[in-house]
Symmetry: C2
Subunit: 265 residues, 2 copies
């Protein structure tokens, strides 16, 4: 299969991953189509986790949940998705600890698994691009620096923790336009939680992100922070369910849903 | 007439003004109904001025123009408006110089007059209020400080000049919410042109506004700037038409149009 041709359609990407031909990061694949962070939990945790996403929809925008227990399709995001094989790399957590990283989870699958798909911040990168932002400000092909802020999420059952935020450097005019783009597009992760002094939200060293890569901030720009769905991953680590499967960072589910169609509910 | 009862409807306010019972500022009257700055020009200037408003619609949002030359009704803004009497106070400019301030202009009226009505920044104050901003941040009853910035408007014929901006002090979270409110409501003057260092747009002393009153800026807030329709008044002063009539500052036409219905075209 020619990887370049495969970049044209989300289902071609998923086929390539399902066949075991690709297990790398999905950044920059099929721009304009939503990529999702995946959380797979035993049914016992499903209600609390769903409510956690609902109560923290700014950081955990839940796009889809599997309909029946043990179902490995997620038809709301694409007709032929098999969530056991269509993510390039999975992390297996037991009691909140990473115990394995694998390229498929067919052998681990259980009849009581529930799948949750959360929109990635990458959707807003695409929106910024359509609003005329250039790739030095925002690029779907790069991983933004991410930080654990001191802004608490709203706890539900065992799920709690601070919000994980990503950083894009912007000047004053870009901040104004970016908030307009987020407001008009209503895309998840579109409205910043903070800009200016990082210490205001508990971030003391921009050069040491908790996830992703550091970014250069020119003198005429300031750091602007948006939530990311890693907030959910952090909450799961703290909740420490007996078993949980998530995607490896930047190794996401590529869906058939256009980014511009992701209305915030 | 009981002035308190009259605050309930725009046409009651206009009747009171028309009868000569009130000639003061209109700030705070009938919150939620649009107040307009008025420009009345001889037909010879009408095309250029209309084009100036169109090309600078961010600062000069033209809501209505009289339909026929010499017509003193503005039906688009209210069915019984008589623009010769319904503004509490008018300024008469000859060759760009203020020569008189009067409470009606019936004797000055000419068959070649064209009336222009521009939405005031007050509409966005009402929107901010509906979005939960309190009156310490923004109040339709107060006059904001206004400054002549160094941002040029786009010149058309004799009309040119820098943009006049108003200032509201806001903290980071308020700036984010205000831009959302402006984007979602699409109300005129809803998107700021700048925030942060006033010197970036040529404003060197916040305590000395060119129009309006100075405002206190608490330590946790920064100045945020939006355009105002006074930009048009400034351009007219510079164009110096042989005759022009405008409303006195803060003495505006109270219309029947709801602020929330003022979609930017």
């Amino acid at each position: 299969m020619d990887p370049k041709a495969s970049l044209t359609a989300p289902n071609a990407i998923r086929e390539m991953i399902r066949a075991g031909d690709y297990s790398g990061p999905t950044n920059g694949f099929v721009p304009g189509f939503t990529q999702c962070n995946i959380v797979i939990l035993p049914k016992a945790y499903a209600f609390d986790f769903q409510k956690y996403c609902q109560n923290n929809h700014d950081c955990c925008p839940l796009l889809a949940t599997s309909v029946n227990d043990g179902e490995y399709h997620v038809n709301a995001l694409g007709s032929n998705i098999d969530i056991r094989t269509d993510v390039p790399k999975y992390r297996v957590l037991r009691d909140g600890q990473l115990v394995d990283e694998v390229t498929d989870i067919e052998k681990l699958w259980r009849d009581d698994f529930v799948t949750f798909a959360l929109a990635s911040y990458v959707a807003f990168d695409y929106v910024l691009h359509t609003f005329g932002f250039d790739h030095t400000t925002s690029s779907p092909a790069h991983t933004l620096p991410m930080y654990i802020s001191n802004i608490p999420s709203e706890p539900v059952g065992p799920f709690k923790g601070n919000k994980v935020v990503c950083l894009r450097p912007m000047d004053t005019q870009e901040i104004i336009r970016a908030i307009q783009a987020g407001s008009i597009s209503r895309v998840p992760h579109g409205i910043p939680v903070h800009f200016g002094n990082p210490a205001d939200i508990g971030i003391n060293n921009l050069q040491k992100p908790n996830f992703g890569d550091p970014i250069f901030i020119p003198d005429n720009k300031q750091p602007v922070f948006w939530t990311t769905s890693l907030t959910a991953h952090l909450a799961i680590t703290r909740a420490a369910p007996e078993l949980c499967i998530i995607n490896s960072p930047q190794h996401m589910l590529v869906t058939d849903r256009p980014d511009m169609d992701l209305l915030i509910q």
